[in-house]
């Protein structure tokens, strides 16, 4: 009780101070500069422009961290007891076949809409991961726990790295997209990332390897 109360008081005090401080003094962030250069980024959404163009290197780092986390999880010893999934109840049996096309459509839409409105690779990838987990619960097994699934998970950061290396070899800086290809490159990177993130999250949550 004591530790909780101390933490609560500290948290509320910090939040209150931040709320007062941030709303009283006008903070000039980088939003105006992003908006000023939005036309050159190839996409219409400022968030996607920052994530996939202006700060693309940071996104590359993030997906690499995800890949490393997956490798670390895959390296752990599988548990001795083979996991026997319980037989799916009637709700799952009815729902999953009907949800699958909807979720695939939603993931495709989120990937495409990410260039103009909230969406993008991570959100679409998360939808795919949810779908894969539902399939793991209900069956049939999507079969992504072997080498194919692992390769797909690594394809995201690898393709991103490839695009960056190609731009570097072509004479520009690393990940400096040539003007004519900006939107296409961003969309392909996001597309591969969608699949990779979906498989990575599903493998992380559902168990990386087939149990022995």
């Amino acid at each position: 009780m004591g530790a909780r109360a101390v933490l609560a008081v500290l948290a509320i005090a910090l939040t209150g101070w931040l709320a007062v401080h941030l709303t009283s003094t006008p903070v000039a962030g980088l939003g105006q500069q992003v908006d000023a250069h939005l036309h050159a980024s190839g996409v219409a959404s400022p968030i996607t422009a920052v994530l996939l163009n202006f700060r693309a290197l940071d996104t590359l780092y993030e997906v690499s961290v995800l890949a490393v986390a997956l490798i670390a999880t895959l390296s752990l010893e599988p548990t001795r007891q083979p996991r026997v999934p319980p037989s799916p109840g009637p709700l799952l049996v009815w729902l999953v076949p009907r949800l699958t096309p909807v979720m695939l459509l939603l993931a495709g839409y989120l990937w495409w809409a990410g260039s103009t409105r909230p969406g993008g690779a991570f959100q679409a990838g998360a939808t795919i991961a949810g779908l894969l987990l539902l399939l793991a619960l209900k069956g049939p097994d999507p079969g992504l726990q072997g080498r194919g699934g692992h390769a797909l998970a690594m394809a995201g950061p690898l393709w991103f790295l490839l695009v960056g290396s190609a731009t570097a070899l072509a004479g520009s800086a690393f990940l400096q997209y040539p003007d004519a290809w900006v939107k296409t490159l961003i969309l392909t990177v996001e597309g591969v990332l969608t699949a990779a993130i979906g498989v990575t999250l599903a493998l992380l949550a559902g168990g990386g390897r087939r149990q022995a």
Binding site: R4, L7, A8, A11, I12, I47, T79, Q81, L110, R117, P118, G119, G120, F122, Q123, A126, A129, G130, L133, L201, L204, A205, G207
Partner: protein, 84 residues
Amino acid sequence: MAAVSAAFDLVLAALLALTAWLALDGRGLIRTVMLALAFGLLLTLAWVRLGAADLALAEAVLGTGVTVVLLIELLARLRGKTRG
């Protein structure tokens, strides 16, 4: 209309604080994980109210799907080990 949204925001903030307080109770692992799940969902609503749709989508995935699913799986394996 502004009064309704302000009241909604206040209730949401209070619920966030309350869920966090209850989750740190330490009375049971399952209880803590479930409250962490509730906190993640409430935080998703908070991001929507703050106008950050991308963050809300990411929070819905990470705060509920990844962290809670991993925690529940951990709990299940711990129980299996203590029983078998």
